[in-house]
Each structure stands twice: as C-alpha cells, then as structure tokens.
C-alpha cells in the first residue's frame, strides 16, 4: 500500500486514542482532508523542485511504532548537551520518556503536548495558539492531522527561563522503518525569555522519516532562541517545519546546524506581526556522500520598522546536494524594513551541487534590503599561504572551512552549545583544531 493510503486508512485507529470531541480534533480532521487532497509534495511543486522525497517514501513505514524499547542513559548521553543543567522533553519512538526527561510546571510549563491537548487547564492556550501560525501545506497538514505528542512550552509574562530546554526525539529502530510526526508548541508571553535546543536522533541505521512541526509565538518584547542540531544517521530523513509568529519588539533567533541525515528539509517561516521586531536565521550545512540538505526560509515583513538577518553557510563535498531558497516579502506597509540575507557556499568536490535562490518581493519603497549569494571553491592562494607557514594542506583546508562557517557560530548564546557545535564541525571536517575560533 502507498504510504499516503496507509496514513489515511490508519486515521480511524488514531482516533481511538484521542479526544474526538474537541476543537483540536476538528482542526485535525480538516488537516487530514487537506493532506488527502494535496498528497506528498512532488518535484512538480516549485517549492520542491530540487528536493525529492520519493526514495524515502518507498519505505514501508510503521506509522505508530508501539513496541517499547528500553534505552540506557549511558548510550544516549552523548546526544544531550549534558555539561549544563537543562529541562528536557525526550521522546523514544514518538512516546514520552519520563526516565530521560526533566519537565516542570513551576512558574512556567515545560511538558507534553499530549497533556496540554487533554487537560482543561491548558485549553485556553491551546485554543488560542494551536495551529494558528502553521501553514496549511501538504506536510504540515499531515502533521496536524496526527498531532498528538511533542513538547509544550508556555512561559508567562516577564519570566526568564534560566535553563535551556532540550527537545530530543530518539528512534530506536524497533521497526525496520519508522515515521514520526512530532508537534511542538512554544508560547513566550510578553517579555518572556526562553532558549530551546532541538535534536532528532536515530539510534540504529533503520530508516526514519520525521515530519516535525513547531509553532513558536513570541509576544511583545519576548526573546526566543532556538538551536536545531541535525546530525542524524544516514538513513534518517527529516522535514522540519517551523512557524514563528512575532509581536512588537520581540527577538527570535533560529540556528540550524545540518551535518548528518539522509534528506533534510527545513521550512523556516517568520511572520512579523508588529513593529521593531528582529528575526535572526542562521545555518551551517556541512555534508558529504549523497546527503541532501534543503533550507527554505521565509521572512514576511508585515509591519514597519522591523529587521531580519539571515546568514547561511554551506560546505558540500562528494556528491552531496544543497538547496537554499530564501524568500523575503516586504508588504507595502512595512516601511523602514531592514532585511539582510547572506548565503555563501563552498563546493569542495566537483560532483557536489548547490541550488541557491534568493527571492525578494518588496512592495514598500523606503526599505533597506540586501542580499548576497556566493558559490565557490576554497581559495588556492589562501591555502598556499597557510602551507607556506607550515600548515599541511588537509589542516589548511579544514581551517579555511572552519573559518568560513565561523560567522554563524558567533551569535550562539549558549557557550556549551557553541563548543559542542565547534567540535562537531571539527570532526565533520576531519581536522584537529587546537583552539576554539
């Protein structure tokens, strides 16, 4: 059976386990109809021109993995940022792991979407925010239809969360192929501050397809920093849909580090619904083999006096392929917008490919919008210069690539995340760098 049919026909079984007399379930059912109509994206869609999921969709996915598989902390500790105290919301094969998690309801909520969807005390927040910024496209609709579990984070007014929150989805390979639909909701009320670290990690080489949706609402003067660490096994694919609604004076940053995985598609969407908003989108992609990473970003400047900063760096080796599609829309009313977009790519091998497409739609006349996009190779003169000073070619290349990616790391606010990413990059580039840049 085709995956689409399998998903549609499993919906009745899914409904057995959720409250069908709720507004959320109405949203789910509508989303299922939408997915039924749209199906999986194909290369015929402009937004999916360079990314095909066909090879992944052929797997016979288990849609609701229900075999419990024990995971030892010692085996997965390395996937956590463990040298600092954090809140943790951890799922194993889509199911909450209380053993690995550290949630809280003190002063603010860091807990489970399943509780938030079922308990009356969360109803007001769910009704106000659930599926309110997510786009109704094919894969987001699919996720919405099956939305039942994920992280729920609600930070009240004037609250600063002191510890970062880690959201980790493990897959154990208890099934030959596993499909997951995690659904996260983050609400930062007025002047709240929160930092989130997100990771999807498969523990075996069995196939995984994760179709994640995260909605983030940043109210007036709120600050949300999100770090996505994508360093999964080579048989794990990810479609990561993130939708961000920002109100006046809020600052939201999303850093995406894509090193692992088979096919990774990031749909990152910012909607600026207020003035004096700052949106920060940064990414480092370092891939090889036949890996594929696609960054589709959207910043929608709706009101005046806002800023957006995008900086994406990509290093592509062997036969890997990359996509950067950065769309910036500036509405007629959004005067004095300052939108900056930078996308630089290095093709290490002559078989690697990057499809880069800056896309600016500007309807206001008093704005500052700049974009730069480069595709190149490593600078031979710089390499010779380093070799002349005694740095071997391999290390020189590593150092050059490291320096190239470094501008993105500068804005990482959690030192432990920064040093972890630094190490991941050094490993990925196969260099032993004796200092932190």
């Amino acid at each position: 059976m085709e995956l689409k049919d399998k998903l549609l026909s499993s919906y009745v079984a899914f409904e057995d386990n959720v409250d069908t007399n709720s507004e959320v379930h109405e949203i789910r059912s509508k989303a299922l109809d939408n997915f039924d109509k749209l199906g999986f994206p194909t290369k015929k869609l402009e937004a999916w021109k360079y990314t095909s999921l066909n090879s992944v969709l052929k797997n016979d996915f288990s849609i609701f993995p229900d075999r419990e598989k024990a995971v030892e902390l010692a085996d997965v500790k390395k996937f956590f940022i463990h040298d600092i105290d954090t809140y943790k919301v951890v799922f194993i094969d889509g199911k909450y792991s209380s053993f690995l998690s550290a949630t809280t309801h003190e002063n603010f909520d860091v807990c489970l979407m399943s509780s938030a969807l079922n308990k009356p005390k969360y109803k007001a927040v769910i009704d106000k925010y659930f599926n309110k910024v997510a786009k109704q496209d094919n894969l987001t609709s699919l996720n919405t239809a099956f939305a039942a579990e994920g992280a729920y984070i609600h930070i009240p007014k004037n609250t600063e969360v002191q510890k970062p929150i880690q959201i980790i989805n493990f897959t154990t390979g208890s099934e030959p192929a596993t499909m997951l639909q995690p659904r996260n909701l983050v609400v930062a009320e007025e002047n709240a501050h929160v930092q989130i670290i997100e990771r999807h990690q498969s523990l075996t080489s069995n196939a995984v397809l994760t179709n994640a949706v995260t909605e983030i609402f940043a109210a007036k003067s709120a600050t949300v920093d999100c770090y996505k660490i994508q360093n999964d096994n080579l048989n794990a694919s990810l479609v990561d849909n993130t939708y961000i609604d920002q109100k006046s004076n809020s600052v939201v940053s999303v850093h995406t580090f894509s090193f692992g995985g088979n096919i990774t598609r990031n749909n990152l969407n910012f909607y600026q619904n207020g003035e004096h908003i700052d949106s920060i989108l940064k990414g480092v992609t370092i891939i090889e083999g036949k890996q594929h990473v696609d960054h589709h970003t959207l910043v929608h400047h709706i009101e005046p006096n806002c800023e957006s900063h995008q900086d994406y760096k990509g290093i592509y080796d062997e036969r890997s392929t990359g996509v950067f599609n950065g769309k910036v829309i500036v509405n007629k009313e959004a005067q004095k917008t300052n939108a900056y977009q930078q996308n630089n790519n290095v093709l290490v091998s002559d078989k690697a490919t990057i499809n880069a497409k800056p896309q600016l739609e500007i309807f206001a006349d008093d704005v500052k919008c700049s974009h730069g996009c480069t595709i190149g190779q490593l600078d031979d003169d710089a390499l010779f210069y380093m070799q002349q000073r005694g740095i071997p070619q391999k290390e020189g290349k590593g150092l050059l690539m490291f320096a190239f990616a470094n501008t993105v790391l500068e804005s990482v606010k959690i030192p432990e995340v920064k040093s972890r990413i630094t190490k991941l990059i050094a490993n990925k580039l196969g260099v032993n760098i004796g200092f932190e840049l």
Partner: protein, 249 residues
C-alpha cells in the same frame, strides 16, 4: 644553505626562468633586483613550492637536499619562509590562532609536542614588541582589513615567530611608509644570525639602506645577469636597468 642550479620554470607554457644560478650561504644577505617581469616573484614562489609553476629543468637544494619535489608545508618545515608580496586575507582566523597553528604543525612535523601555552604567549609578546605590534591587532582576522604596512609587519612578525633558516622577503618594502620600513628592517636585522640567510627581493635601493646585503644580483629575463656588492644597488638606483641590458648585448 640554498643552491639553485640552472633553474628553468614556466607558467602556462610561458617560460619565465631560463637557467638561473644562485648560491646563498648561512649568515649571508642577498638582494635580488630587476625590472618588472624579470621573474623575481616567480623565483620566490618556486622556492616556496607554489604549484602553478612548472619546473622544467635544474635543481633547488636546501642544505644539500633537493627540495623541488616537496610540498610547500614540507619546505616550510625545513626552514623556508616567504614573506608574501600580497599577503592573503583569511577571515575568521585570528593572527594569534594562525601563528599558533603554524608553529604547532611545524613542531608536529618534527615529532615534537605542541609548544606549551605559556611559552607561546611569552614568545608572541616578545616578537610583537619587536615589530611594535599592538595586542589588539593580534586578535583580528588574519590580514583582513589590514593596511599595506600592517600586512607586511605581520609577515615579519610571523617570520620572527617561526625563526626560519632561509627567509625570502618578496617586496616587503612596497606599501611601507618610512617608519614602518624602519620597524620591519629592524625586525629582520634582529633575526639575522650566522645560521640563517635572507634573500631580499626589491625594486628599490631604499630598503637596502636598512638591511645591508652582502651580494646584490640583477635578475633580467629569467637569469641573473650581474652580481656585485651593496654598491651595485646604488648604481642601479642612479642609472636604472637599461645600462645592464645594453651591457648584455
């Protein structure tokens, strides 16, 4: 130290060096002068091992060993240093981190442990004072946004840190004002010893007022056509190169 015998080299099939001979002994300073396009920078780059140039004949020996097949970093490990005419900008790598990496990679090649951090700091402080380099300068990205003079001073700072056996200064005086020239020349003179050698490539005599050469060579059309002592440089400054070209006919 360095013995170049009948060196012939080409780039993209264009012959540039046409049978060049040069011998530099430890403790000596040699100046190589000559008109534009004579092949001075080519010679410097070939000794340092730049791959674009094709050596079509002759040999380059360093301390009795043929280095013409060695990679640039191996030549550096053997003590060859080239102060670049146009130092490359490397954004994202600070001067300090760059020189630390260079020193420790050179030590690694010799089977030595990394230099202890304390010694490294001490050495950096010492040598940056010698070149009158500000501490803030050391944390900037290598050569990025440096003025011409800062770039050249930074080259000599790296030379001081790496303590090469053979230093080739390729037009280190270009882009320097008179104060910077004095600082750079002073740095080079302080590093001179009976165990190392310096080759100064320049258009002008003025640098040679500060770094006094034992020999002055005139490079013309891919060959050394005249060799003399420091007074030759003065003569060239006064009379230009045409009289040498005429002499050759």
């Amino acid at each position: 130290m360095l013995k170049i015998n009948n060196l012939q080299a080409a780039i993209e099939n264009k012959s540039i060096l046409k049978g060049l001979n040069l011998e530099v002994k430890a403790g000596e300073v040699h100046a190589i002068m000559g008109p534009n396009g004579a092949g001075k920078s080519t010679l410097a780059n070939i000794v340092a091992g730049k791959e674009e140039y094709e050596v079509t004949g002759g040999t380059i020996e360093l301390n009795g060993e043929d280095i013409s097949e060695l990679a640039p970093e191996e030549r550096a490990h053997n003590g060859v240093f080239l102060s670049f005419q146009y130092p490359v900008e490397i954004p994202g790598v600070s001067v300090t981190n760059f020189i630390k990496t260079a020193i420790n990679e050179t030590r690694k090649a010799k089977g030595l442990e990394d230099m202890p951090a304390k010694d490294m700091l001490k050495k950096i402080r010492e040598k940056s004072e010698l070149l009158e380099i500000d501490r803030k300068f050391l944390s900037r990205s290598l050569n990025e946004g440096f003025s011409g003079g800062e770039k050249k001073r930074n080259e000599i700072f790296q030379m001081a840190m790496l303590e090469p056996k053979l230093a080739i200064l390729d037009e280190t005086d270009s882009g320097l004002d008179i104060d910077a020239l004095r600082i750079v020349a002073n740095g080079v003179n302080k590093l001179k010893s009976k165990d190392n050698a310096v080759i100064v490539i320049t258009h002008y005599q003025r640098l040679l007022d500060y770094i006094v050469p034992d020999y002055v060579h005139v490079l013309h059309d891919g060959k050394i056509v005249k060799t003399g002592d420091a007074s030759l440089a003065l003569e060239l400054e006064a009379k230009g190169y045409d009289w040498i070209k005429k002499e050759l006919v």
